[in-house]
Symmetry: D2
Subunit: 347 residues, 4 copies
């Protein structure tokens, strides 16, 4: 069996996770790593894994004749040009979320993908998680009937550092974008209207960046269902990732994953451990799974399960939420982008 | 020990529950029952309990010289006149929720209460429930730090019948009013702004009455916290009553009560029973407790724990939610009542 | 409706519970209380409840011509003579467990009951508990198929005081006797063999009384099922009352009841409260229910659900466990009582 | 870094798992596979993994000069000779459980290991499981004080096939041996006495092999604690793996692992999924972890965490249980082996 050759651009924390996962697939070869800051440390790290082609030049990876697909794990601002170039080079693409923070640019990238006829999978890893998948399966199987209410709780254990916040695109585009995607995924319907409330309740640093750290967003889906998402940048008990879908025939909900099932009963109470700490612990299997499936699609030619359209739609909802929060009123998805530009103009 | 004599007006389902609970208190005598539709059946029911004064005339109960307090359990439209007359007669009052569906009328009733210097407890029974109380205690004790997000789920197992819907005042005033009260109770802060979404997803009969059957309402509290309440008129798995308060130091949440803890593991899965069916089962102890405490306050002269002001505040939030739903925009509590009247005028 | 008149002998803690429960039944009148130590305090307590006949003379209660049934709640050593006299007086009997600590005497009492044709219900309150009942129902309904393994955990929050231990009859006759009854009840089969292990692990005071404080007993049922019961006199986290029945089609298990469902998530972990403290809290509804059903049987003439034979059988298992522990080998139920006497002889 | 070369003998189901886990460790090279039945299929399977040395001759693996350690995953009857030869060849050894079914032979193997000064780790994989480890940690940390009662439930989803049963050594040596090891592990004390009850309740085929399919075994530990283990060869709801340790300061217990946390609430009840199906699913991470730690010990020279003495002790308890079941009385560990031989003689 000839192995699929894959190049990875951006070998930071998430890039390295993807590389290690790719290495566990016998049908894959990680043929090259491109990272702007590649140095001795990365070279050594790669060599340990039998990867000897490491470069600072993304073009060398993209244009490598043997490489069939590119993982784009570099900073968000580089996604659109890299997608565009990779598509033009005829490579399939896996891109971390979000594609970009600008609807128009994202659309531009998707057009390049369409024109080139390549595949683009967006890194909405939660869709590949055992719990979220099970919710979706139950909804699709009709176990809860028609969905009426979708509730998503998504809270991080700790705020990101200052630099991250500044470049993050804000809570809606950086953090809640996962939940917007999950909302569509578990409800099986498109979001039509958004109302966003939020505040700076944890750390004033968010205000300095024009961002917020706590948000509650309600959704109206095209099938009539209502939704609500709550986000917090700091849940001291750990990463809180829960979903509930309620419908005509019942409800399906998922609880958090815990490091073990041990329960300690003492004179003080009954105690179990906090949830798995953060996304690396919580979604380690989901990251593996999304890569396994991406590679399966490459090999078989089947369409990828989360494509550029899904990436775009989540970004549109995030933009609507951002606008709603600024204007203090519900915003229809139909208002994005015209309204967006107008709104930007008034800023 | 002289027993406190109490009169009960309205001996329907909820009135009978209050009577049976009053009879379990050794320091109480149920001295008279007034019910517009009193007939042989009610006379027999009362006689079995040693109550021999049953009348169709509420005034006879209110003006009974030995009676110290009146339970008002008749239909909502009678609450304000009965409160007013009972107050004028110098009786303490326990009144079922809501006091009325009109802020101005409720204020009028409260004024009568204040003028008479009597006590008025409003029947927000959930405050006396073991679970909700525990949430409140944890929040007050600072166990979760400053509250940031309040989430309330409240779903009935089945819609009420047609006649009930017509006179109910709508989902916000009839059903979610309990949740508005609980929101204030567990957050320890006042609601300042409301945004209400809703739809008719269960039964078109709600639309016929200008009502909805499914609603998601977001709240903004004066301490900066955000809140969300979801209501459904039909959860096929039973009465769903959950609350979560999330804050700087953690989160406290309550799950539903179940008829037993039995778990059946078979080849099909792990099954436990649905929650307690409806409010009579779920809150039977809370009804007892609210009456026990009301009587304690009567005897000791201590102020009742849920007074007319609490009743009024919940009604104001319900009115704001109703208005928000009609206007499709967030409504500040400060807009109620001026806006309310204006809005009504425009209807 | 004429009310059933009931006399209560022994108005200690458990007697008072039965009296208060009897008072909640409209078809019952507590006509007299007999207590060896009746004094002003008991008189006042009874008067508050409208009971004005309080005596130190049990005979006066037993022979009271209007009284139809006697509750025997006095110390265990008085049970057999009181049952005998009450039966001879033609009264139905509710007797606290155990009937006695001596199989021969218990059989004597049961003979008196049979001869008199009265009913005798033994106070195995757990059979009326919502959880244990549900286990039994599932087993009877065939939900778990043929039972193979029965597991019972039963631990007290705190050891009884010294005087109680001395007169208790030991852990098997005083505490585990409930579990022996539940084992028969949930398995639907008789115990044929017992092996008892135990030790003094909590407090040497148990050794002083020839007793133990921790025990693990295995059972063999006549249907081939195996069982195990563990008892401890001190579980610092509270009253631990669990059962599991495992069979060909699955398993049914019950968890403890808790005062509320609140769960507190903090940086330290996820905490919920300890189980309900002890039998008074845990089984308050079960006590009510056993009395309600006893009275129903009196009124309807139906046979009581836990009769003298059940009391005897549990005592026989307890005796076998005691013997097994002394001899360090499994003991067949068939060995009780010949073996018992022989063993006693050798002591 | 030079990689540790490891040879694997026996490439059946469990051998393949160990090979795949070894391949995930960058510091390891699987240098050779020895399997009596090695054929084209195994050659292809190995080649896919880059292993090109596959032989039917175990000696070639054992005597391979570059190989530092041997995994023995062949049938139980080959363990003792292979351990002996591997030890004589100066190789470190990982051996699947049990070392053998005969105490004397196991002792012989351990002596060879001691003489050669090599390490021997026995495959008690559950010690490396997240749940069991946590129980142990809590007990060691004193969180539950002095252990008083240890309860272990261990039930397989389905009986093994006929051939397996015949050669298995019986339920105590094949299945409960894991629980005997866990009992020592979580209690932190040695077993001194065993009483075993059991029966053929699932399938008469067990009786044909002189085996049983359901067993309840009680233990007495040298620290005074009592224990109980229940085993069933068929739990229709899946692999049931639970432990509870109860002591002076409380209790720690573990529940089963489930494939996800989804809970479905419908008109029929609240349902979640069955536990992970069997040991391959349930302990996949534990298998990885035991290999990771074995290799760490090889590299660092630290002693392995589960050595031959642990293997021997579990076998001694299994032998005692077997004997107890045959004799129908408790058996002290001190009786094994003299008694064993005597008992065997009488068979």
């Amino acid at each position: 069996m000839e192995r699929v050759k894959i190049g990875v651009i951006g070998a930071g924390r998430i890039g390295k996770i993807h590389i290690d996962n790719l290495l566990r697939l016998p049908q894959v070869e990680v043929a090259a790593i491109g990272d702007l800051f590649a140095g001795p440390e990365l070279l050594a790290w790669a060599a340990q894994r039998g990867i000897h082609s490491v470069t600072q030049d993304a073009s060398a990876v993209i244009n490598h004749p043997d490489i069939a697909a590119i993982y784009i794990c570099s900073s968000t601002d580089t996604h659109v040009p890299l997608i565009t170039r990779a598509a033009q080079a005829g490579k399939h693409i896996f891109c971390e979320k979000p594609v970009s923070m600008d609807i128009a640019q994202t659309e531009e990238a998707l057009q390049a993908v369409r024109r080139a006829g390549v595949q683009l999978q967006v890194g909405f890893n939660r869709r590949f998680d055992h719990n979220f998948k099970r919710v979706r399966e139950h909804v699709l199987a009709g176990a809860i009937g028609e969905p009426h209410i979708v509730k998503i709780t998504s809270r991080d254990p700790n705020p990101p550092h200052n630099d991250y916040i500044r470049a993050s695109g804000g809570i809606f585009m950086d953090m809640m974008i996962h939940d917007f995607d999950i909302a569509r995924y578990v409800c099986g319907s498109e979001v039509e209207e958004v109302y966003a409330q939020g505040g700076v309740l944890i750390d004033p640093v968010f205000a300095e960046h024009g961002d917020i750290d706590t948000a509650v967003v309600t959704l109206r889906f095209s099938n009539g269902a209502l939704g609500v998402i709550d986000n917090s940048r700091r849940a001291v008990y750990g990463y809180d990732q829960r979903v509930e879908v309620f419908g005509t025939k019942g409800s399906v909900s998922i609880a958090n994953d815990h490091p073990n099932t041990a329960e300690l009963s003492t004179a003080e109470g009954i105690v179990r451990e906090k949830p798995l700490y953060f996304f690396l612990e919580r979604y380690s299997e989901a990251y593996m799974e999304e890569t396994r499936i991406f590679v399966d699609c490459l090999v078989s030619g089947k369409p990828v399960p989360v494509d550029g359209g899904d990436g775009l739609q989540a970004e549109r909802i995030a933009s609507a939420a951002k606008l709603s929060h600024r204007l203090g009123r519900p915003v229809k998805l139909a208002e994005i982008g015209a309204q967006l530009e107008q709104a930007s103009a008034g800023e």
